[in-house]
Point group: C2
Amino acid sequence: MHEINAEELLLKKGVKPTPQRVVITQYLLSTHSHPTADEILDEVKNALPVSLSRATVYNTLKTLVEAGVIQEVVTEPGRSRYDANVSDHHHFVDTETGAVFDIPAEVITPVRATLDERFKVDGYKVVFFGRRQD
Amino acid sequence: MHEINAEELLLKKGVKPTPQRVVITQYLLSTHSHPTADEILDEVKNALPVSLSRATVYNTLKTLVEAGVIQEVVTEPGRSRYDANVSDHHHFVDTETGAVFDIPAEVITPVRATLDERFKVDGYKVVFFGRRQD
DNA sequence: TCTGCAATTAGACTAAGTCTAAACTTGTAA
DNA sequence: TTACAAGTTTAGACTTAGTCTAATTGCAGA
């Protein structure tokens, strides 16, 4: 098994691996917590020897989403979360804590819909909600 | 068939039917456009003979959601939309325009998930995305 | 080394939503 | 009727998430 390397990943996706981008990508690869932009800023600023402004975090997240390195996840009003898991998957949201968990596409039954032919469906996302124990 | 009456609906749900609440509820019952709070404010302010402040729109929407009169729908980053359809249904989002359409639960196959038993699932929502023609 | 474009930055700005304190209803009791 | 209390609405200040701008910094290629 080959360890995921942020710099290689960025190069492969055609994104110039600047220190700020590498560090943000590393952080997202290392967590399953679906952090918000400001959580990323705090984490990365406190833990890593690279200067980082708020604007750069937002710029970088947009760049990474456009390049397909990460995904934007909207599970609650008012702010976005980010996910380095770009494989086909869905989400579970804990309704008490707001915590978000990945659900691989393979563990759910495929959704088939009978729609008016004017709807051209490119895909779908399922969000489960409830409580996650422990 | 009985026409839906906003005032009756509010009473039935235990919400005091003030003029502002009735007018916002009427507007939501009359549209399928899933408006945002500020769209509701504009619509209602221009069309109806009742004064209405931004704070009241936000207060009222929160009250109506808590009472189960309407639903909050989050389909895009940064703002919420509101839906007077509280029956069991899902959504289709046009990726070009952001327009949101209701998809009744009956027209999709039920989603079955095989999850770690720590996930206590209360329900799920499916969001389809693509283009809606015409 | 120079040059020029891309990336980063601080901080002003915007948009969506919340909060606060005052004013306004409304239902009920005197 | 009047008067009170509780609930509702209001304007506008405030907060939060995110965008924009204009100035700097950092590199890759000539």
